[in-house]
Amino acid sequence: MTTVEERPHTGFGRTLRKEDVRLVRGKGNYVDDVRLPGMLHGALLRSPYAHAKINSIDTSAAEAHPKVLAVITGETLKGLGLAWMPTLSYDVQAVLATDKVRYQGQEVAFVIAEDHYSARDAVELIEVDYEPLPVVADAKKAMDADAPVIRDDKEGQTNNHIFDWESGDQAETDAVFANAEVVVAEDILYPRVHPAPLETCGSVADMDPVTGKLTLYTTSQAPHAHRTVYALVAGLPEHKIRVIAPDIGGGFGNKVGIYPGYVMSIVGSIVTGKPVKWVEDRAEHLMSTAFARDYHMRGEIAATKDGKILGLRVKVLADHGAFNATAQPTKFPAGFFHVFTGSYDLQAAHCTVTGVYTNKAPGGVAYACSFRITEAVYLVERMVDVLAYELKADPAELRMKNLIQPEQFPYTTKTGWEYDSGDYPKALQLAMDMAGYDELRKEQAEKRERGELMGIGVAFFTEAVGAGPRKHMDILGLGMADGAELRIHPTGKAVLRISVKTQGQGHETTFAQIVGNELGLPTADIDVVHGDTDQTPFGLGTYGSRSTPVSGAATALVARKIRDKARIVASAMLEVSPDDLEWEGNRWQVKGDPEQGKTIQEIAMAAHSSLELPEGVEGHLDATTVYNPPNLTYPFGAYICVVDVDKGTGGVKVRRFIAVDDCGVRINPMIVEGQVHGGLADGVGMALMQVIAFDEEGNHLGASFMDYLLPTSLECPSWELGETVTPSPHHPIGAKGVGESATVGSPCAVVNAVLDAIKPYGVRHADMPLTPAAVWGAMNGRPIRTDLAIP
């Protein structure tokens, strides 16, 4: 009998996720699982109005509730200088409203009680005298002369304008358009959606009155950034703040910012001297936390008659809600929208973006958007199809003709991005082969003959992730570099400490695999610590698909530092010069004499022993680093979606979805595929069913999962995934991010497919979500404005 020795998993490749051992057994530890001795419960009173003056607030009945300890209003906070807090976009946001409420669901008062039920009961006992004001619910009316000024709290603010921003060369672009044979324009709305993680936001604040140390358990994708912001806002010394983000049930950018509820749990703990928990419910979450998109775009595309795309011109009206609280690098008020030239080799491009206030919740950068690349990709991929419609060209062929060619990399776009690497035609060809593109077109033609509606949608995307180079990118002045610390214990087991924070992406596995790949340590022997500011080095957290591009690089580099140090230790052990050693998988061995060598485990023990080390070499085996990315990484992909549309009802069935992704080197292909699956489901959701619409009074029309729909497995086909691998030339392991690729790339593939299906009705464009009613409306020449109440 032969026994196969089971080698422990090491390095890259498919392996089960380490975190799933606890997560699939229900042993995760989420914020709402945190229960501290003596803990109290907070609940927020929120505004029923989208815009109203607060005349008075009567809290006496709530205070008289036998289980209530305190009721805090904006007036209380004003006394403490805490009524307003800074946003991530250099605006301010009310913690609790003092003068006015500016959107439905805005925070007005905070009740602290012995239990959650009592807190909720007491919230209802607060009486607020509101005086309703005219509402701006439609961004297109925000700049009307008679529009009410929402931000009259800001000195000198006389309208609802926030910013104007532009990118590209206007004159050059206008010249290209003036001389182009074909120019097509389209109005395209990317409606307001919400990332809707299953775990809502919440926090438990525990201010120790003796030591003055605040421990905050919170749903944060960026614990270090949050700590610094709290230090700046609340005036608490930063070393006396410990932010712990335990397990997080999905973030998608929704948990990047700081919400009034978090601040109120802190204030509540300071006021009562007890830990205070605040966890919002689903309706609160959908109504008040960071939404995404809400971009009203007018795209224009210029081309030759035979389909060579020459230029793109875009005007955007960006609805930022009542406070400008979008999270993005400071220099980019429209995020990375100016990557809208997409995957094509253009002669010129120009965009302008105007941000406006409306009576809606703040936010804007969320839902796996890579700082608004979702909007950019949607715009360009829709415009290419609009052009194909006009030219009667095949959309795949038209794309193939215009893609940036492999030999053009590194490629500098007309709006200043330097794409690092790619082979776009190869990815598109692979997707077409997997789909059986020509066969599909044949089938479609036959179906059209019979009056049946089938559509094939193509989308190609280029992502720009891994923000970012410090000199260009910061958030509130904090440069976007991330640290890593690696310690090898004497027995060769390792602890990696990183600044990024998983919300389900599998960091505990992927980052262990990076270390394992560099040092030859089994994945199981490496623990990844994250999400606790007292335990990890500084860094800006996980969003914008930045974990692998930034922290992944930091991890590889810190492991290489260890390897270099191990070489010196090994040389002392073997009594040879370090130069005579070569690295072989998991050991340093003597060149030409492989019998002579020391494994990383042996070296670790020696590093902690009494072994004499060369002059100037410290003992132990640990290292730290900070990684400042030289450029972003540019993942890309080609997606093809096949749908069938019911002509009588407008109902859409997604039949197939082919997704070819290139995210450079894949560390754990299973995790990559999981990220892609999730993003594709997001795309189906946005394309077909998701929108946060508002009526004229600013009432939120999507405050539950019966109104704001998440796709289920029944709306999703069995995904057909493919890959090409073009390593990033500047990333230590050639990896690019993948967390948001599919969310960025898929909505347009689905929309293009639906519009392709109803092309016989003369429909060139219709806005998301393409619900049965919207599809039928488009087919019958009565398109629906999806962001408003349906009349």
Binding site: Y117, D281, L701, M706, L709, P772, A773, I790
Partner: protein, 292 residues
């Protein structure tokens, strides 16, 4: 987490006990069956009963699905999943299985009840249209005894029925007549969604002539979830695509849909016609012994 306002809770041990409790606790007390409509409304604090009378222990009395003479009897406490799984219900009225496959999701179907669906009187409830099409009759019991209420007379408006606060719905009865076929058609934005519109039809044929027909509609503002004008027009007509379309058109004209995020009025009216046609077509095919 959304939590309800305070309320008292009693568990009924028999039908008599439940009715007695409702009498004692007064008009602000409510029956809770599956709780999948009532409890969400309580959590949103849209409903604030003083007390709940839990009838979930009465399954032996109230959850049967059986044939009694020439009637199919469905206990009010039968779960959606029971109805979906019932061979006898499906054999006589495939419309039940058609509808139950598209009502909510498995979790809700495991708990939500047939009686709860009808008593909830949600203007978009699927089973209201199904029972309206079938012209089912509810057996209702109060302190004064038992009475029969046609489902077509049960609902007086959105979230309102003719039941007194201390009346309990016991069961539903549907007459089984030979030569019939039935079907249900629904458009939803996503699985588990309430209908944008839905239509149910049951049809009895004499050869190729419509002997009798029942049409139910939901989510489109059809009075009592029924389409009596369309039914009257179709009786005695040939069972053809043409007459189905004409009847469906009539049904759509008598609807009164309202616009919401599921769609505008014209679309919902269009669906009323389209889905009625489809339901009639399928019901007729089934009456002819063809599975469609």
């Amino acid at each position: 987490m959304q939590v309800p306002a305070p309320f008292a809770y009693e568990r009924a041990t028999s039908v008599e006990h439940a009715i007695a409790l409702l009498g004692e606790l007064g008009p602000e007390a409510r029956v809770v069956a599956g709780g999948h409509s009532l409890i969400p409304m309580m959590k949103l604090r849209l409903a604030r009963p003083d007390a709940l009378v839990d009838i979930n222990g009465l399954g032996a009395e109230l959850a049967q699905i059986r044939v009694d003479g020439d009637e199919l009897v469905i206990g009010s406490l039968a779960r959606h999943a029971d109805l979906l799984g019932s061979a006898v219900a499906g054999e006589h009225f495939p419309i039940f299985h058609d509808a139950e496959k598209v009502i909510a999701d498995p979790v809700v179907r495991n708990f939500g009840t047939v009686g709860g669906s009808l008593c909830q009187a949600d203007p978009a409830e699927d089973l209201a249209a199904v029972f309206a099409a079938l012209d089912g009759v509810a057996t209702v019991r109060g302190p004064a005894g038992v009475r029969q209420v046609r489902v077509r007379e049960l609902h007086v408006g959105p979230y309102e029925t003719v039941l007194a606060p201390d009346e309990l719905m016991l069961e539903l009865r549907v007459a089984i007549r030979p030569g019939g076929g039935s079907a249900y058609e629904k458009v939803e934005r996503r699985v588990g969604d309430y209908p944008v519109a839905a239509a149910g039809a049951v049809i009895w044929l004499d050869g190729d002539t419509v002997r009798d027909v029942g049409i139910g509609l939901t989510a489109v503002g059809a009075a009592h979830f029924a389409a009596p004008e369309a039914e009257a027009a179709l009786r005695g007509q040939p069972a053809t695509e043409e007459s189905f379309r004409a009847a469906a058109q009539l049904a759509a004209e008598h609807c009164n849909p309202s616009a919401d995020q599921r769609g505008p009025v014209d679309y919902k009216r269009h669906l009323a016609a389209e889905l009625t046609t489809r339901a009639l077509r399928r019901a007729a095919a089934r009456a002819r012994g063809q599975e469609a």
